[in-house]
Symmetry: C2
Subunit: 669 residues, 2 copies
Amino acid sequence: MCICVPDAGVRHLCTCAPRTARRYFRNRGQPGGCAISTVTVHFKPADVRVEVPAGTLLSDAATQAGIGLQIPCGGQGRCGRCVVVVESGAVRRHSTHRLSAEDVAAGYVLACQTTAEGDVVVTVPPQEKIERRITEGKRAVTVELPFTYNFHDQPLRKLVVNLAPPSLQEQTDDWSRLKRELSQRYGLEDVRISLSVLAKLGTVLRDGAWHATVVIELGTSGQSDAPPRIIDILPGEQMESLWGVAIDIGTTSNVVWLVDLVGGRVIKQAIDYNGQIARGEDVISRIIYASKGDGLRELQSLVLATLNRLLGQVASEQGISTAAIYRAVVAGNSTMIHLFAGLPPDSIRLMPFITAANEIPPFTAKEIGLDINAEASVDCLPGIGSYVGGDITSGVVSSGMCGTDALTLFGDIRTNGEMVLGDCTWLIACACSAGPAFEGAGVVHGMRATAGAIEEAWINREDHEVQYRVIDGERPRGLCGSGLISLLAEMFTSGVVDKSGNINLSLSTDRIRMGDHGAEYVIAWASESATGQDIAITAVDIDNLMRAKAAIYAGFAVLARSVGLTLADVDQVYIGGAFGQYINVERAIQIGMLPDMPYDQFVFMGNTSVRGAYFALVSDEMRKRVTDVGRMMTYLELSADNSFFEEFNAAMFLPHTDVDLFPSVHVAP
Amino acid sequence: MCICVPDAGVRHLCTCAPRTARRYFRNRGQPGGCAISTVTVHFKPADVRVEVPAGTLLSDAATQAGIGLQIPCGGQGRCGRCVVVVESGAVRRHSTHRLSAEDVAAGYVLACQTTAEGDVVVTVPPQEKIERRITEGKRAVTVELPFTYNFHDQPLRKLVVNLAPPSLQEQTDDWSRLKRELSQRYGLEDVRISLSVLAKLGTVLRDGAWHATVVIELGTSGQSDAPPRIIDILPGEQMESLWGVAIDIGTTSNVVWLVDLVGGRVIKQAIDYNGQIARGEDVISRIIYASKGDGLRELQSLVLATLNRLLGQVASEQGISTAAIYRAVVAGNSTMIHLFAGLPPDSIRLMPFITAANEIPPFTAKEIGLDINAEASVDCLPGIGSYVGGDITSGVVSSGMCGTDALTLFGDIRTNGEMVLGDCTWLIACACSAGPAFEGAGVVHGMRATAGAIEEAWINREDHEVQYRVIDGERPRGLCGSGLISLLAEMFTSGVVDKSGNINLSLSTDRIRMGDHGAEYVIAWASESATGQDIAITAVDIDNLMRAKAAIYAGFAVLARSVGLTLADVDQVYIGGAFGQYINVERAIQIGMLPDMPYDQFVFMGNTSVRGAYFALVSDEMRKRVTDVGRMMTYLELSADNSFFEEFNAAMFLPHTDVDLFPSVHVAP
């Protein structure tokens, strides 16, 4: 029973709706009461019935009914794993992607893309046991290595030493005594030690009665011929664990994976927004901020504060001290790595776009204040230039594209679109400044993909009314990247905008109007939004989105063209980045951002950057491969390439000037 | 004319005496006026007359007369360079050491050991041109290398680089661009750089229009195979200078020598008391202090504050920034080096007396906060054990004893007596805890050798009255080490104490009395002292002095005995340490502290420790020699050696149980 009293005539959030009902409906002009009716969804064969508001997604109804459907794509209609059969009753299919015509005819629907509009009976096909896979950013993903973990292929060791105590007859100093044991028992020569470990040596040796555990690094990252280095010494025998971390420093999000180096597995994960966001949404604004006053130190402190909080979190969840983490491998774009390491990034922004270093020499955690063991080495994975950083080399390695014969296009869609084309024999990379539109910036009502962001939209082809889904089911506050892609695709396919992206002012709907920023389309009215203001997309926003999608497509196209190929030659497209994971491919193809290829040629890989850092942490061979990939990769500087501007201009249409490139896209008449 | 009005009947400081008159006389009971008469000293051939108080040293009278006598030994009567001829008049010879019987008969005297008691005529023999050599601790000593300086035998280089600027066609990162130049132009591979130098690289390269000067260290101290390391980079061409420092960290004094590495010369020197003194006079009290609470950090900060002040001083005198000092070589005893490097020294004090490390791995200045260039390496010279540190290995190298065929005994007489016996083929070392008596501690009226300290004393054989000399000519405040040695020798040779060191209470002088600490002998009465109290030496003080001198002699003896030799086999004795420089050999032999050998077999070397650090700074070969010396040196642990106690007990007499060992010492009847 609905007891809420909405304002008349406006779309509102029905607060009586259960938590699982994420959609909001318009009270079509009936003042004084909520017009939302409830419907019954009857799940078979479990024979469970639930009452939900009309318009509830079948997947949400299933969750309410305690039926765990597999939704590995996060409810984006992309994976087809949540397929169910509608036996009877009225439903609305928002997407049938991944379903054949026969499937549709047989009553199959995607539970995550289908709403119950009346009482329905649904059969859930037999499923594999549901795993608790939650999309990244909410809970930990299960990470599997594509190779067998070999403890001896990473540089950290714990070695037990038993020393003969000194006497008046044998007064060898502590450090020489330890070196002698390491040489005689383990064959290690020329071992190095820092002052701070040396300072604890005497106490530890005596506390452990000349019995101790030495944590040692054999070779330094990228310098395997470097002498062994003692990182720590512990009294007695403490062999039970050995910890490392893989870190991804994104412009928007930072990720930490705590890795058990005994077993080679990711044990804990943590993610949070990069604390630098308040000082600029994209790398360019961060670079500008860093160049002023004490900006560089401030930005470094901010990202370290975020990372140290995440490190504290994973350590505390595992019940260990952060000082027990003995190595960090870090991936990130070149600007993020410069800021993390305290290197001025100015020249990255200025012609001819040069980094201080693509391969940062390894340093210790204490040098920058990263809260792991002070002596732990911090290895920043090498990039190849200002706009193709260690996140990309790392992503190429972890995606496996450098190990395949198939011609692969790899794209990491973040604020900058970085992309790589090639296979196991050659690689060419470029970066196009997509701008922060897909991060929700540069768009009047844009926002990041957090609670209150509209992440998906559907426009009625007849009355041009809109329905939408909000992250965490709150009142809408704005539109995030996937919401913008979805909305633009719907506006285009429903005729709200034409192929040039111009809003059709002749349509008879009050949602289209002239606003402060020119023509605009209202998605949510003030009364239903969390901000108390209309949420609209303007002509300027659309132009920014068009530029962003055109830049990405042009990047793909020019990469292929530069080696005498076309995108039709590409065998598969790997999409990395957490944002990539949320993109609805169908919609992205409809706006001409991704090339028009069969769905099964797209592989969504999530955060390939942190994954590559993890690989490099657990395997020297993988670590070397990251360097090798960087060295074999050719960088195509787009600002020096006229063909990019040609491709960009051609892509400034929906879906493209050359519609033959997008045969699957059908536009509403 | 004397106008002062002293108290009756007491020794006083005659304030009317000129600054050069350093001696004070007793007003022999004439109230109401100063009884000091003035006398005339007539110097020939210069034909200059000066009026001075009776009892003024001829050397002081000469200074007053503007006649520069050479006094390289500092006026200790040891070098014989200040010899003059007394033509007529009454003088008193306090020492005729260095003069033959014929010389004495011919009227020769040592100006620094002879006072004018009446009007005198003195002839000054022709002298070499006076050099302004002032004893260490007052002004800089002239330091000469015993080998030819070879710039390429030290690891620092300045290299000019001219880089091609980057372009859109050639986007190599700054660091790779620099590495390429260093490889192509200078053949340097595998060059290392720290984060902080990398952080300034971009700005420096652009400020200098891709023209820069790189400061680089080839190999690390003691690890010449280590890869080249960039310490600094400067815009444009800045080749004019290259600076390093040699540092000696003594328990009492710290010394800094600023070295021009272009010419290999010592340019500036500075010395000051170790700021740790307030936390303990000797190493044992420092170790105890360091073991409590934050004591270690506090002691480290104190010595760094002293050194940083001295570094600031030499840099400022030379008009350079301390950041232009690119390398430091440091010598010091093992405890001082531990405290400097922040290593807990506890085990040095406890059986079986073990250091954390005899060879401290090289570190950078920023790691401990030494105020030279942050990236400069700090090389602590290796010692061989808890009580034979880098000051001794360094001293052995700089003294040249490891390069001679002559059997040499080397002693560094500081708080601890460290001694080495050997030649170019073998070396054996030991350390005996002489205690701080010679530093003025453990003696009731002891003090350091600073203004107001009695540094020399003469006792009248008949009435047992005493005369003394005070540093800087002030009223006496106490007795420093050389004063104590002098006083004990005088007390012994004048019969005030017997061969066991017992004060002879039967002598008829009011200077001998029973005090709070047993029998005592008064050197200065309250009315003439700066403290307003009597300054006396007690039986307990004498016992401490006896133990100290016995420990040193026993150390010498046991070293010889351990290799089947006696001290008579020794060809020469090298005495290092600033304190050693002030010892009057004649007096030291009289008390049985130094073996009874002809004066010319003693060589006083001053601060051999900082000298060795300087050698190691300017020469890799010398640096290696320090390590080699440490490795070839056998350490004799005296606490595990019964023969030491035998020798010690035998030496607890004045001069020794076996008087045959001291044929030159004649005792007053």
